[in-house]
Amino acid sequence: MLLFLSMTEANTDVIQGTLDMLILKTLSLEPMHGFGIARRVEQISRGVFKVNPGSLLTALQRLERAGWLDAEWRQTENSRRAKFYTLTRTGKKQLESETADWTRRASAIARLLKAEG
């Protein structure tokens, strides 16, 4: 089982390291469906991150299985049935730790780059 999991993860996109965090961050604002998440990520990153639905929906499954998200079928505003994802309490904790981790790394890289420059 673990073997299989690691296989799937190895197959995901280059932004793998950050995709999970981006999803969790997006969902921390409000519950959303798949396309909603994709659009929000794209908008906020000003088009830097484009999310492929295959990767996104797989990542959502993974996060749901990890217990960080809850999923529920609901009506959208244009009364279409859609699967909405909500951040759970463990998901929130995960987001916090990932954010802290990311910030630490990013600032370290930034310092390095500055020193080089």
Partner: protein
């Protein structure tokens, strides 16, 4: 937590697969709809919006597939799919499936059965408390290298008192004895034990109490079985009286039915802690002990070495070169059967190997048939692992089927094995299939699957699509590598079978040699009565001998009886003795190396009854009484050993059996093989019963009959009961005793022979399979040759010649292997050398014939290849 959730999701998805797929589909569709809607909102037309969404996000199908693939359950599902495919393939090829399953069932069944015995007898701990701390003491002579499983009473006591590594040491002795109950007597395994015995084994009685030192010669313990059989139950047995050798013993306690040491003992009679035999040269006792917790056998042994050295200094005569050895009880109990069981294990291992080769073979043939299929799958992009997987799964399935069938076969096989096993097989009642055996079988099944599918799977992985699609064997084109591989497998199989057959041949030849051997007396028809007359005092013994002499006269008068005699020391009998003797006027002996001999005590007429030839002098007669000068009869070997070519009659001889009076040699008789036909004839010293009454109350009565010996049983029983109803009796025939003494050899030979039979059957199947396959492949070639006028004989000859060639290679390899392995069985051969030409010849011939017979049917088919049909098949 995480694992549970993963498991939950996965299982739910496995159970409701379509539901999940539907949900994924809906989610993906909704995503794309939203995406299109977003594009439309930016002002694109419906058509343009759809294209833009596709351009950005790929196709819906790809996304669905990707999402659906997530989760461990998909690996399970694809495995189940492959397994189902393998199952369907097997069902489509019933002949292949049945042959392979049966072959493996035979191999795995034989292995399971033998492993059951090996596990129960050799591997499972003895059924005693902390059995790994139980030890036995042996006496070893460092100069001669000889080891006796016994100790002298005084050596035993010294070890008990001095060895700190042993928590308790118990001395015991005994054997089969008559036990007198209130109205009758029974023959029982009886052991005299000291008060330490129960401590050594940490025994708890089921009723009553254990023995104390004060119980010596007064009390006894009995087994639960004995209590039930004779008194109706454990409680009822308490306080009852037994008589052993005319000594009254009260039953003080009952031991649990599961306790069985020494093997089959029913009565444990109390002996004093201080042994009665005050000697350091009479090996009257066996000794068991319990190691102190945490002490290893090595530590104990080095302590015993020190004690042995001290004893050697203190008693330079008696204890010279003597070393007390300690070894695990387990080894002492099972040591004798270990080589036989290991041999059997190796044999069934070989059978399994042959079975594996056969299955490999069948698999290869199958995988060659589907080479085109594999080639196509590879051409379409399957990886090596993907094409290997069905091959391996198929063999796994076949092996599991074979394993199940094997376990089913093993049940009756174990039953038959135990029934066939010689009485000497220790722990026979503990043998049963259990969890360990099933784990072993499962492991074996998986192993055979791997071994037998290795070659076919590798070949499948190596298939070169272009090449395989070009070749087509049915059109007369064969790939040489494939044929060579199959030939190699047949050769391997034949050589393994040769080793088996050769082994069986050697053991059978040994059996035949033993059965045909001159044992020194005539075994048929001879009724043997074990008779134990109770005697305790010297007067008792004299009376018993007198009674027996009267009995012999009465029995001789029974119609159908030719001769009657009594003997202590019957060949293969229960009672016997041996030891050193001295002569006057004989050859000189080195000091400290007295000549030794078997001792027998016989009544007049014994040699005549047994038909042991009297070579010189006379037999015992009525004039040889306790009061008259002591006389002896010696065997030819003894005469040669001590008197050389001189006439021994009239010479003086003395032994320490029961009196040190000098005896005059009055006769010389032929040698006998004392312990079994496998033994060499050796020196025996015969003494008259009347002069050695202490050894004259436990005897065998032998009756040379004119009718079937056992037909006289009832008459003889009545006559003896008429004289003394307290004589414990048991009946058998000399023939049966000889047979029994060869039980181990027979067991071994019978098993190995039947395994060799199975091996031959498998080899035959193997050769048949190859030949049938290659003939089928060459039908086209044969058709053409026939069309050009080839003789049928010539074609048959081609096929048979091929088979014979393979068989000869196999036999040659097998012969080399047998010679290398021969030393493993040397100790089991009697009168036959490991290179026995008869066995080699028979085995070689048998294998050649088997190979030819197996090749004949396909060969005959080849000669009936219809040229037109073969060509039209194009």
């Amino acid at each position: 937590m995480f694992l549970w959730r993963q498991l939950g999701y996965g299982l739910r998805n496995l159970a409701h697969r379509t539901k999940r797929e539907r949900e994924v589909a809906e989610e993906v569709e909704q995503y794309f709809e939203e995406a299109e809607a977003a594009w439309r909102a930016r002002g694109l037309s419906a058509e343009e919006a759809r294209r833009a969404a596709r351009l950005e996000a790929g196709t819906m199908t790809a996304a669905k597939e990707r999402v659906n693939l997530y989760g461990w359950e998909n690996a399970v599902r694809s495995f189940a799919g492959d397994l189902g495919f393998a199952g369907r393939q097997l069902r489509k090829h019933p002949v292949f499936t049945a042959t392979a399953t049966l072959t493996l069932a035979l191999g795995i069944g034989a292995n399971t059965a033998i492993f059951t015995v090996v596990q129960s007898v050799l591997l499972a701990p003895l059924p005693y408390q902390e059995a790994n701390r139980l030890a036995v003491l042996n006496t070893h002579w460092t100069n001669s290298g000889r080891t006796s499983p016994r100790v002298t009473g005084l050596d035993g006591v010294d070890v008990r008192e001095q060895a700190r590594s042993l928590e308790a040491v118990s001395l015991y002795s005994g054997g089969t004895l008559g036990v007198q109950l209130h109205d009758h007597s029974v023959y029982t395994e009886l052991t005299f034990v000291d008060a330490n015995f129960a401590r050594v084994f940490s025994l708890q009685p089921v009723a009553g109490r254990l023995l104390t030192d004060g119980d010596a010669h007064r009390a006894a313990l009995v087994s639960e079985q004995f209590a039930r059989d004779n008194f109706g139950g454990a409680q009822a047995a308490l306080g009852q009286m037994l008589h052993v050798e005319n000594e009254p013993l009260e039953i003080a306690g009952v031991l649990p039915a599961a306790f069985d040491f020494p093997a089959k003992t029913q009565v444990w009679a109390a002996y004093p802690m201080r042994p009665e035999s005050q000697s350091r040269t009479a090996f009257n006792y066996k000794a068991v002990g319990r190691l102190r917790a945490g002490v290893s056998f090595q530590t104990a042994q080095s302590e015993l070495d020190g004690i042995s050295r001290r004893l050697e200094m203190a008693y330079p005569d008696a204890n010279r070169h003597k070393q007390i050895l300690t070894l695990p009880l387990e080894k002492a109990v099972t040591g004798n059967v270990r080589p036989t069981l290991l041999l059997l294990w190796a044999t069934v291992g070989l059978i399994l190997l042959i079975a594996c080769v056969n299955v490999t073979h069948l698999q290869l043939v199958r995988s060659m048939e589907r080479q085109r299929e594999i080639a196509i799958r590879k051409a379409l992009g399957s990886s090596g692992w993907q094409v290997m997987r069905p091959v391996i799964l198929e063999s796994l399935l076949v092996s599991v089927l074979g394993g199940l069938a094997g376990v089913l076969l093993a049940f009756p096989a174990v039953h038959a094995l135990v029934a066939m096993a010689p009485k000497e097989l220790p722990r026979a009642e503990e043998i049963h299939l259990n969890g360990w055996v099933l784990v072993f079988t499962l492991g074996l099944a998986v192993l055979t699957a791997l071994v037998s599918s290795l070659l076919p799977a590798l070949r499948a992985a190596r298939v070169d699509p272009a090449g395989a699609l070009k070749y087509d064997a049915s059109r007369g084109m064969t790939r040489h590598g494939a044929a060579k591989l199959r030939d190699g497998l047949v050769i391997a199989e034949v050589s393994a079978t040769f080793v088996l057959t050769m082994g069986a041949g050697l053991l059978l030849h040994t059996m035949m040699t033993l059965a045909a051997r001159d044992v020194g007396y005539e075994t048929r028809p001879l009724l043997v009565v074990d008779a134990d007359a109770p005697a305790h005092t010297e007067a008792d013994s004299h009376r018993a001998v007198e009674q027996f002499n009267g009995l012999f006269t009465q029995l001789a008068a029974v119609p159908g009886v030719k001769h009657v005699a009594g003997i202590m020391g019957l060949p293969m009998g229960n009672y016997g003795s041996n030891g050193y003797y001295k002569t006057r006027g004989g050859l000189p002996v080195e000091s400290g190396h007295d000549a030794s001999s078997d001792f027998s005590v016989a009544s007049p007429g014994y040699f005549e009854t047994m038909e042991i030839p009297l070579k010189r002098g006379r037999d015992f007669n009525g004039q040889d009484t306790y009061e008259s000068p002591f006389v002896a009869v010696i065997s030819e070997s003894l005469a040669k050993q001590s008197f050389g070519d001189a006439d021994p009659v009239g010479k003086q001889i003395q032994c320490g059996l029961d009196s040190d009076k000098w005896m005059t040699v009055v006769g010389v008789v032929g040698d006998v093989r004392q312990d079994s036909p496998a033994e060499n004839p050796g020196p025996t010293l015969y003494m008259p019963m009347t002069q050695h009454p202490f050894f004259g109350n436990q005897i065998h009565i032998v009756l040379r009959t004119e009718v079937k010996p056992l037909a006289l049983m009832n008459t003889v029983k009545e006559k003896i009961a008429g004289v003394n109803p307290f004589i414990a009796l048991r009946f058998t025939t000399m023939d049966a005793m000889v047979n029994k003494s060869l039980a181990v050899e027979r067991f071994r030979a019978a098993l190995i022979t039947s395994f060799a039979g199975v091996g031959l059957l498998l080899a035959m199947l193997g050769v048949y399979g190859t030949m049938a396959y290659s003939v089928a492949q060459r039908t086209f070639e044969f058709g053409i040759r026939m069309a050009f006028g080839a003789e049928k004989g010539a074609i048959l000859h081609t096929v048979l010649e091929h088979a014979a060639k393979l068989a000869c290679y196999g036999i040659a390899t097998g012969l080399v292997l047998s010679l290398l392995l021969a030393r493993l069985v040397t100790s089991m051969l009697v009168g036959v050398r490991p290179t026995d030409p008869v066995s080699v010849g028979v085995a070689a011939l048998l294998l050649l014939l088997t190979a030819l017979a197996a090749a004949f049917v396909p060969g005959w088919k080849a000669t009936h290849a219809d040229p037109m049909a073969a060509l039209r098949a194009e």
